[in-house]
Assembly symmetry: C2
Homo-oligomer: 455 residues x 2
């Protein structure tokens, strides 16, 4: 039999990687909880009626579809089969698909449980999603999403809390040099109105969103082909080029947007978010009002965010914004306003590796490995283990008779913090040899001393 | 649009249920870690070549298969299509399937990473699995498995540690009345040899495994139809009926198995497991040597375990055993012996609900909800929130202006422990009203006092 392989674009997470991912996720979870967010988990499989039509045509094609169980051809007629239309047939032989993101399942949950939920509902959700994308470096077919949303309130206090949470998570992770870019869809509308392109705003947003990727010249070119005059382009880029502090930028745009209701609302909203930071006695450190931030064609309607770690060759590691139509796709008339953001755990992981930010302690598996020389010291060591564990010290014993060298190699490879070596002399005297695996230092002390040292 | 639904046999886990599941899982994880087990996660999707042929024909049919992306009919000829053979076609249009258990992916991981793993390898894995079973009460199509295995050693110390871990988990969960049944495949072989049915041992094991479900009479009937004589049945059931302490039972079977190498080995193994408990200064409390325990047709070759919570109408909540052929299915010649067990989290959950064992604290979401009367106290309250969170107290503020009654209802529904009510008088005096939501008790104290009280 051939050696087994993994499906393209999927990964195993062995102990060393798991420990680092755990470090990231536990810090994020702790901050979410500290801010009153509650966990939600939804099934990996959703009905395709729930998933399709929510992510655009491209998204629909990237859904993993699950073949119906049993005789899935039963209700398919011969002509239908002979048409050989994979796309059409897939909708007949597959009723379920794998979750593509966490937002649609969340919206589905809210619609299904509307009467039981106490709004405003703060939920976080950390689960894998699946996309039949072409795998490449940093892009996987199964990857973790990590979302937090508040729905059922339009209070801008929530936007301020998102900034606070991002900063808290980054502080815990040891990430110091980063920028939280903020903008507002209303401000983008204001710009469109100010240059007389209100009727072409979507075209404009799509182009602005590409500035980062294709550069100014190509964006201009694209806008020219869509009928934007040189005059318009000049006023557009004058606005996009505005530099200075957030306060100055807000003031400047305020004068430009005197005739734009949407633009003025956007500026007022941003200002209020900043005010909330002040009420919290928090600075606006790391926050940058970036008028070129557009966040693609997504469903955002208010403030938008994006976080980049500076001087690291990795895209944004977090992003989000306010939306007004979460449950509309499920026919809900009584729309809920909400605001959410998510962390890209895979990218955070890569950035932290690049910056060497994982504390060495994350790699430590057990605190103690009990090593022994023969049956007798193995049995005695097993008793020692009982006392270590009862004291809450994670420990293990090498379960087989083996050379000490081999036992220490095991401790080393598994990154056990201490080896406790027990020979017959140690057993007699009760003075056990405790070896620090990182420094090589060794001391002979009693079990009680070891326990109080390691606890 | 119709109200969305969930696929049959799948569930959402909202905050209240998540909190209880978290309580179970964190306790299990803590014990696993304390015993030196390290986490592993594998992808939800595996190649079908990895999955098929590992679970028997029935298992193969219960696999969820994932339709190939793109034009999946491309390489299917017209005659193949017209044959309308769903089973055959499924293997041509679906290359991947969803994980059916955690053991096969674990074996695959070990085979693929053999040179990097330091054996003995102690891994735990807590992930969902999917089975296209007919959904019914307590049986789901997506459910969590929670496995711990040690591979690369045949030391019976590991079996003793499984018993210790199960008892530790149950102590943490507050489950007091339960039985850990242990047996050994060698002892079952010994019985087969003792009644002269060595060549029919599989038939015998399958029948014994059904004793619990269909009762003695039907098992006898089944064995009669398979050619077991009345004599044989009499000696068989005499052995299966043996009562008494584990020590007595071991002694009794020892005399019966004098001619059976397998049987004697089984008894010696069990005795050694018990010896290890003694070296650990642990009793054999909750442990019962049950000669009728067979654990189905599974791949076990040594000790086997099964745990039942007494006086609760729920099947076994944990089980496992030793196997010698983990990696054989992947063509590995150099077989690894291992021993593992798993917790049935859904059943543990149901049992704990039935026994009302979840501590009330698990249901508490935030520690504090800050409530306010107007814009001014909302802003002031947001500053109070900053201080609470900085002290590590999980807290939130009602983000909108709303009647106090509504804010308290929210706190109540979300099970927030304390409401901190701030009116203009409280803001002036600095004496804030702290209301215990469980008792209704209320006191007026300073923020510093509140923090030291809640920390």
């Amino acid at each position: 039999m051939e050696k087994p392989t993994l499906p393209k674009g999927t990964r195993d997470f062995g102990p060393a990687v798991m420990a680092k991912r755990h470090f990231i996720l536990e810090n994020i979870r702790q901050v979410f909880r500290n801010y009153g967010f509650q966990p939600l988990e939804t099934p990996a499989m959703e009905n395709l009626t729930t998933l399709t039509g929510k992510y655009g045509d491209e998204g629909d094609q990237l859904l993993f579809r699950i073949l119906n169980s049993g005789d899935f051809l039963k209700d398919i007629s011969n002509p239908e089969l002979q048409a050989r239309n994979s796309k059409l047939l897939s909708s007949q032989i597959a009723e379920k698909g794998l979750r593509y993101d966490l937002t649609v399942p969340f919206a589905r949950f809210v619609v299904m449980n509307r009467n039981e939920i106490s709004f405003p509902f703060r939920r976080y959700q950390i689960q894998p999603v699946w996309r039949a994308d072409r795998p490449q470096k940093g892009r996987y077919r199964e990857f973790l999403q990590c979302d937090a949303d508040v729905v059922g309130t339009d209070s801008l206090l929530c936007e301020a809390e998102i900034i606070l949470m991002i900063r808290e998570v980054f502080r815990e992770l040891g990430i110091l040099d980063y920028t939280i870019k903020v903008n507002h869809r209303g401000i983008l509308s204001g710009i469109a109105e100010a240059i007389g392109a209100a009727e072409n705003d979507t075209t404009l947003f799509v182009a602005i969103d590409k500035l980062d990727k294709i550069g100014e010249d190509k964006v201009k070119e694209e806008l020219r082909t869509k009928g934007f005059t040189e005059n318009r382009l000049a006023s557009l880029f004058e606005m996009l080029h505005v530099k200075g502090s957030t306060v100055n930028k807000l003031a400047l745009f305020s004068s430009r947007f005197s005739a734009s209701e949407k633009g003025s609302k956007g500026l007022r909203d941003l200002q209020e978010v900043l005010n909330y930071l002040t009420y919290y006695s928090a600075s606006d450190e790391h926050v940058e009002f970036d008028v070129t931030l557009a966040r693609g064609l997504s469903y955002y309607t208010g403030c938008i965010f994006e976080v980049k770690i500076n001087h690291v060759g990795i895209g944004s590691v977090s992003g989000g914004g306010r939306y007004d139509n979460l449950t509309k796709a499920f026919g809900d008339k009584d729309n809920l306003s909400g605001v959410g953001f998510s962390f890209g755990v895979d990218r955070l992981y890569d950035a932290m590796e690049e910056l060497d930010l994982f504390p060495r302690e994350t790699q430590i598996s057990s605190t103690v490995l009990v090593c022994h020389f023969d049956d007798e010291t193995l049995q005695y060591g097993f008793g020692v283990l009982a006392k270590l564990r009862a004291a809450g010290i994670s420990s293990e014993i090498y379960p087989d008779l083996a050379k000490i060298k081999r036992q220490l190699e095991y401790a080393n490879k598994k990154v056990v913090a201490f080896a406790l070596v027990i020979g017959s002399a140690e057993k007699e005297s009760g003075l056990l040899a405790l070896k620090n695996m990182a420094t090589g230092e060794q001391e002979k002390i009693t079990l009680e001393q070891i326990i109080s040292k390691l606890q």
